[in-house]
Symmetry: C2
Subunit: 754 residues, 2 copies
């Protein structure tokens, strides 16, 4: 088949879709102890069972974790997901464990039997690993790397297909991938040169004297000393048919135990089972020759991931050599030589490489690639000139400074994960509650997908069960009506009253005149005047002492500016608590203290605030569990009322309030009191949720005296849909409550039963 | 017990609560045929079973409907509910039936056996009626009236109670009601005088020659010829204990079959069963002596209902006579005399009446009653001067003009109900969809309550099962998440795509630059550029022919002004249909045609619009199923494009479009096409609802050709939560679909199984 690729790619029908593609990554890496030795511990118990975990598995040995991303429309998203998987893996490790940052395994035990195979449930999986161990030796299997799954976009393939008329779409598609694979094998040495990252082996890797090499090299993993099939295995890529037949023959003769034992740098992927490949045609390809870049936590950076995409486009454009099998053999020959070249020396294949990059650049210019992409090609081309800028080159330079640089990097990546344990790398553009929910979901082995980042909508799945969750805890279990009830203070109150739960006594008004005329009703009482629906404190007036008629009228005017309906309620004194109720059970209780500082007799209020703000849980714009205290006009006024300025030095243990309201968003403290809260009030919160027909809610209750065992002096202020979860997860004081996990448990009881 | 009532009522603690009270109404009235004879038909089948109907029952005979309101905080609301019950009753009658507008029954059959007792299920209820028929004769039982249930507010009672120290609260409460009752019986003649409304009997009421009276009188019903216990029955109101004992004695001796057979003008009400009265104390009283005012559809006007409330307050204030039983006998004596006085003559008790009203006015002034209330007292006082202004007086005057005035009024009330069948009287402050839902709910015997008028939240109940519904069809069956999904066009599209349903192809952009750069993708196609979340057409540009780059850029700018995310979609041609899907089933399908007129070769466009606007379904501000076409700048522009002005006279059968968009809210037509729509598209709408996990939704689908039996040329535009129901109920053309009833069926399958 002759496909006029150059013409095809530059046609105006194809060009709009040129960069349409799909990407997925798989990354292996070992668990090691704090000294950098293979961990003796089992696969982390915190992770859901390997039997169904879609993202976190073990590869050959029990220590070799495998992180698998879903498929995305651009490589950046795949890398971001890989970052998330790293946060989850690292934070699921036992206290002292690390994730080993490079491809070559750490020092291996003298006795090969001490390398534990992955402790999997299925006999088939165990037998397969035992077979490999026998055939290739365990040590080779311990080398890790990244697999890059790549698929051309469907619109792109269709547009290309429509430019030629010779064949059906399925055949066309397979042929494109066959060409890509042949070319990739021919030029993979460029990847080995630029991205090779296994220059030196640790103790215990080479045990055969014949295998001794001159280190540093570019890539042991991509050399003949890497994890390879025996040399007599040769599979032709001339056609899909030929590829398939060759593989089948090896399987039949027993040279390969099954098709997946064929370790080419490019694996062709069709259906779920290798055997379906011929029927369904090639759906995508798996590039398997990437070493872990130890300078990047997840082993591959965004530039590299993008470059590989550009590389594939150029490969399908570039003219092929005429004899595919010979070209493949040549490709391997060059690759194997380059892999064992001295890390810091120029390559012997410099000229072929330079020609390749020059032509690739012209191709890119002709197709109007963006400047950033051209610069990326230049960056990789430059590596030919400067071997020290290749990954292996950089590693060798680092090694000369510090032989333990890889272990140090592994430690650094662990610390990174723990620096802001309330965030999930790769998803930091989402709200923290959603980040935490996704963390837990990934940890427990649910499939996750962000449906809409703006609205914080995510889909979580286990087998055929999918739940869509909005903003961390708005789920399919709560109704539109529960939402409407909680939004409406009057209806909330009516329903709570009917359930014989106490709410602030009061009355609702829908016009100013009637409300003002009702003054006699409230003349003698402490009251709160508030708009019916506003939630952020706007338009609320509190009179702890009875209001004058004038004050009452004014307060009503203010409230009516915010809403058409206004409530006047008796003011209830006491401390306000937030009860997080889920499916009829109080999962967490929190007290919020208004922003304040405690004097030490030495520091000014300004200094005390600064000290308090140093807490790593405090930050800005809801990107942290707590907000930093800011001294604005409101705080200054509050100080003034107490006869302070920012420069005042309060005496030791004197509490200085900076705010009237206790919201965490204005610098308030969060204190978990779940264990101290008497059951009687938890019952009340649960009954409130029941009365409002809501499964997940935050109930605010004013309690006059926690020790009142009758539980009678309380008042339910409101119930909130989409209650904040973060301050329960990471309170300033007290025990964190993993309410995000409770949400998952509620939605997917079946995975917790596993 | 001596309670210093005057002091109590005027105390500053009591005054704020003075008007706090609760009200409920019961109204009897006969079904008659179009000639005004008792209907021969059964109780309307359209109404839910009498076994559980909370509002619509039958009293003594099968034709005597009884409408019972719930209890409200003011009499106006009770009357409004009674209006609603009237709309429901009247629209549930067989085609020619009427509701008889006055207390005295229409002509009764010569043979008493032709008066059918209410056809009730419970043997006990039937036996009770048979007993009454035997004891009092059927004819007397056919007289109808209104019962006014009255309860003082709990805060009022408590405030009053706290002003005195002699007794416990329950006893105090009962004593207040006992005084009210004694005083009421003493002065009820004033009610008979002012509000008596049974001056003449129709044929067949008086069959005993001894009972012949000189008509017109004030109130046959309230005279000794009304429905009374035998004269020897006398029950003392001196104390609750005495009242109860007297009644028990009559029951024991068999003079009364049970306590409820005692027909006083005031009945004391305690618990559910009469027997509990002594234990629970008096909870409220039932005033039973109101004739139906035929000049008011529901039989009592708001002034009257309010006056009765003022009357009760004055009665508990007013000094009592010292001998309660004697006072009661005197009260009845005067009442019975007044009842049979000549309608148009002054009463013999004028002076007692005048004194009463004078003192009542002083009382009202002293307690700072509003001007309107003082005027109301004056209005009733005036009736003493002008007997022709009493209800009976007005009836007599009307009778002299037209002997059939009551029948004519009955006809008028029926017409009133049918004039705007899409509204529900008493609830016209709500949206039409909620009005229709409430109509259906009341008809089928659900308890209804408006929880919040502003948010259109209503509670519907059957036994212990309560459903809260917002805006007509947002229910507990749909989740917060379904709501969020439908609000988000991108997520909607993703989920529909995954369910293999067709949506307009397109792409989402979150910044202007990227979107503008994507021009090549859309260069050759008809497209729609729209903001992600807006629903009202704001910021949408449609290019039926491919846009130029400049137009494309401009359209994106406009869309980005409305939302942070913008969609560019392929434009799909065809006709748009709205599918109302409920619980997986398409209940109605509608086509909406843009506002237009069809020429007749004679009228100008302006005249044609005016003619079209005469349709009674068209109105303004969503208070009607369709909106009137308005000729604004938009319509003028649309005419201009077609080379018309408002004064143009289009040729016969020529269609002139006035709008591009087909929204009903801008004058569009609604055409029901449920029966014509091929099943294949209903399936598609149902699958869409399933994919979006929604139970009640309006799916908009563009269909290119309804006759395409493959059902392949369609595109789902969007799915709407809270879909409009009114245009399905009352389409301009085609059959109305009672989707509000479908909603009820979905929420309360149990009542439809009855």
């Amino acid at each position: 088949m002759t496909i006029a690729y150059p013409k095809i790619l530059s046609s105006s029908q194809v060009k709009p879709y040129l960069f349409q593609a799909r990407f997925g990554l798989e990354r292996e890496g070992h668990r090691v102890d704090s000294a950098g030795n293979l961990s003796l511990l089992n696969h982390p118990a915190a992770l859901g069972p390997r039997r169904f975990h879609p993202y976190l598995q073990t590869d050959f040995s029990e220590t070799q974790m495998e992180a698998i991303t879903p498929v995305f429309d651009n490589p950046k998203q795949a890398l971001q997901f890989m970052e998330a998987l790293h946060d989850v893996m690292i934070r699921s490790l036992e206290q002292e464990e690390l994730l080993w940052a490079q491809s070559m395994p750490p020092a291996l035990p003298e006795n090969e039997s001490e390398i534990r195979l992955a402790n999997l449930e299925k006999t088939k999986d165990v037998l397969y690993r035992e077979g490999l161990a026998k055939k290739y030796g365990k040590r080779k299997q311990m080398v890790s790397g990244i697999h890059y799954n790549f698929e051309f976009g469907e619109d792109l393939l269709e547009a290309m297909w429509q430019q030629q008329e010779t064949t059906d779409f399925k055949a066309f598609k397979s042929e494109i991938y066959m060409k890509l694979s042949r070319q990739y094998l021919r030029y993979m040495w460029l990847i080995t040169y630029c991205l090779g990252a296994s220059p030196r082996a640790n103790t215990g890797f080479f045990t055969d004297q014949n295998e001794k090499i001159q280190e540093p090299v570019r890539s042991i993993r991509n050399s003949k000393f890497g994890y390879r099939n025996r040399p007599e295995i040769f599979v032709s890529y001339e056609s899909l048919q030929q590829y398939y037949e060759d593989l089948q023959t090896y399987v039949k003769t027993g040279a390969l135990s099954e098709m997946k034992e064929f370790y080419s740098a490019v694996r062709l992927r069709g259906g779920k089972r290798s055997e379906e490949l011929l029927d369904v045609g090639i759906q995508y390809v798996e590039f398997r020759n990437f070493d872990l870049n130890p300078f990047v936590r997840v082993g591959m950076d965004e530039d590299t991931a993008r470059f590989i995409h550009l590389f594939t486009l150029y490969l399908i454009y570039k003219e092929e050599e005429e004899t595919p099998d010979a070209a493949q053999r040549l490709g391997y020959e060059i690759n194997d030589a380059v892999a064992l070249e001295d890390t810091l020396e120029k390559t012997a294949y410099y000229h072929e490489g330079k020609l390749f990059f020059d032509q690739m650049r012209i191709f890119a210019q002709n197709l109007d690639f963006a400047q950033a992409d051209l610069a990326l090609i230049d960056k990789f081309a430059q590596m030919l000139e400067k071997p020290e800028t290749t990954i292996a080159g950089q590693m060798e330079l680092a090694y000369r400074q510090n032989k333990a640089f890889a272990l140090d990097l592994s430690r650094k990546y662990r610390q990174q994960s723990y620096k802001r344990p309330f965030q999930l790398a790769g998803f930091t553009h989402l709200e923290l509650s959603t980040q935490n929910l996704l963390f837990d979901a990934i940890q427990k082995g649910l499939k996750v997908e962000v449906l809409d980042a703006q609205d914080q909508m995510v889909a979580l799945s286990f087998k055929s069960h999918t739940e869509i969750v909005e903003k961390g805890n708005m789920t399919s279990k709560d109704s539109m009506v529960a939402y409407a009830i909680m939004e409406n203070k009057v209806v909330t109150k009516k329903l709570l009253d009917r359930a014989h739960l106490k709410t602030p006594q009061g009355q609702e008004f829908s016009d100013l005149a009637t409300a003002q005329a009702a003054f006699p009703l409230f003349e003698a009482a402490a009251i709160v005047v508030k708009p019916k629906s506003t939630n952020y404190g706007l338009g609320i007036s509190i009179f702890k002492k009875p209001a004058t008629q004038e004050q009452f009228h004014k307060a009503l005017e203010i409230a009516f500016q915010e809403d058409k309906e206004v409530l006047v309620e008796r003011f209830v004194s006491g401390t306000e608590y937030r009860f997080f109720v889920l499916d009829g059970e109080t999962k967490a209780v929190l007290r919020r203290d208004a922003a304040h500082v405690i004097g030490d007799g030495v520091s000014t209020i300004k200094q005390l605030v600064a000290q308090k703000n140093e807490n790593p849980l405090r930050g800005h714009d809801h990107r942290f569990p707590l907000e930093k205290i800011q001294i604005t006009a409101t705080e200054k006024l509050m100080l003034e009322v107490q006869c302070y300025t920012e420069q005042s030095i309060p005496a030791k243990d004197i509490k200085v309030n900076l705010r009237e309201n206790s919201n965490v968003s204005t610098g308030g403290d969060s204190i978990d009191v779940t264990d101290e809260m008497p059951e009687i009030y938890k019952d009340i919160a649960e009954k409130a949720a029941e009365a409002l027909q809501v499964k997940i809610t935050g109930v605010d209750i004013l309690i006059e005296d926690l020790n009142d065992s009758l539980g009678e002096k309380y008042s339910i202020i409101e119930a909130n849909f989409n209650p904040a979860m973060l301050f329960h997860l990471y309170p300033l004081k007290g025990k964190g409550r993993r309410v995000t996990m409770d949400v998952l448990h509620f939605l997917f009881p079946e995975i917790f039963a596993q």
